[in-house]
């Protein structure tokens, strides 16, 4: 069966420090991968998605970047964190099949980032 792992679960970082959140998926190949952010009272915001290694689509211009160095690995990074980067970050995947496809997203457990 497929599983998704996301870490760290909790992170407290000072303003201006770097960030790296990692997500890996097991039990599937060539998944579509997603990073979402959930800020207090603001719902889910799509940050990045990827349909393959090295292919990243950015939805919101901001202080963050994403990379996909391996098929089942998705990394969210920042060189210098801002206070506004605080939030709950969720990684998700779906089957990356071609053609008519209606598959759902599967979410990780999330990473709580507090920037002080």
């Amino acid at each position: 069966s497929q599983t998704i792992h996301q870490w760290p679960a909790t992170l407290v970082q000072p303003v201006g420090s770097p960030l790296s959140l990692e997500c890996t998926v097991e039990g599937t190949s060539n998944p579509n991968l997603y990073w979402y952010r959930q800020a207090a009272g603001r719902g889910l915001q799509l940050l990045f998605y990827s349909v393959g290694i090295g292919q990243i689509s950015s939805e919101v211009p901001q202080n963050l970047s994403a990379s996909r160095p391996q098929d089942r690995q998705f990394i969210l990074s920042s060189k210098k964190l801002l206070l506004s980067d605080s939030g709950f970050y969720l990684c998700a995947w779906r089957e990356g099949l071609a053609g008519t496809y209606t598959g759902e997203l599967f979410f990780g457990e999330g990473s709580r980032l507090t920037v002080l």
Binding site: N32, G43, L44, Y49, L90, T102, E104, L105, G110
Partner: protein
Amino acid sequence: AQSVTQLDSHVSVSEGTPVLLRCNYSSSYSPSLFWYVQHPNKGLQLLLKYTSAATLVKGINGFEAEFKKSETSFHLTKPSAHMSDAAEYFCVVVRNNFNKFYFGSGTKLNVKP
């Protein structure tokens, strides 16, 4: 364009009474629709999905939803609320064959003893 509107930000029910969480969508194409549940500080879990088959969809934990194209609605219901249903619920739409999922703003369900 795709969009989702969850009509209530908070819903409060008593344990054992019915639950209704409302969702309207806008889609220029045949969409797939989903309901997810999120407990505090947890990831989102799929409750059910509509993918152009039966319009009445049954999900986990006794939830179901009915796709009504004429009303562009996909409301989530449960006959009898349980304390463990207290959580936040998200309605989601995606255009088939595309990669972007559009989330509603969420409805927080409170279940009173």
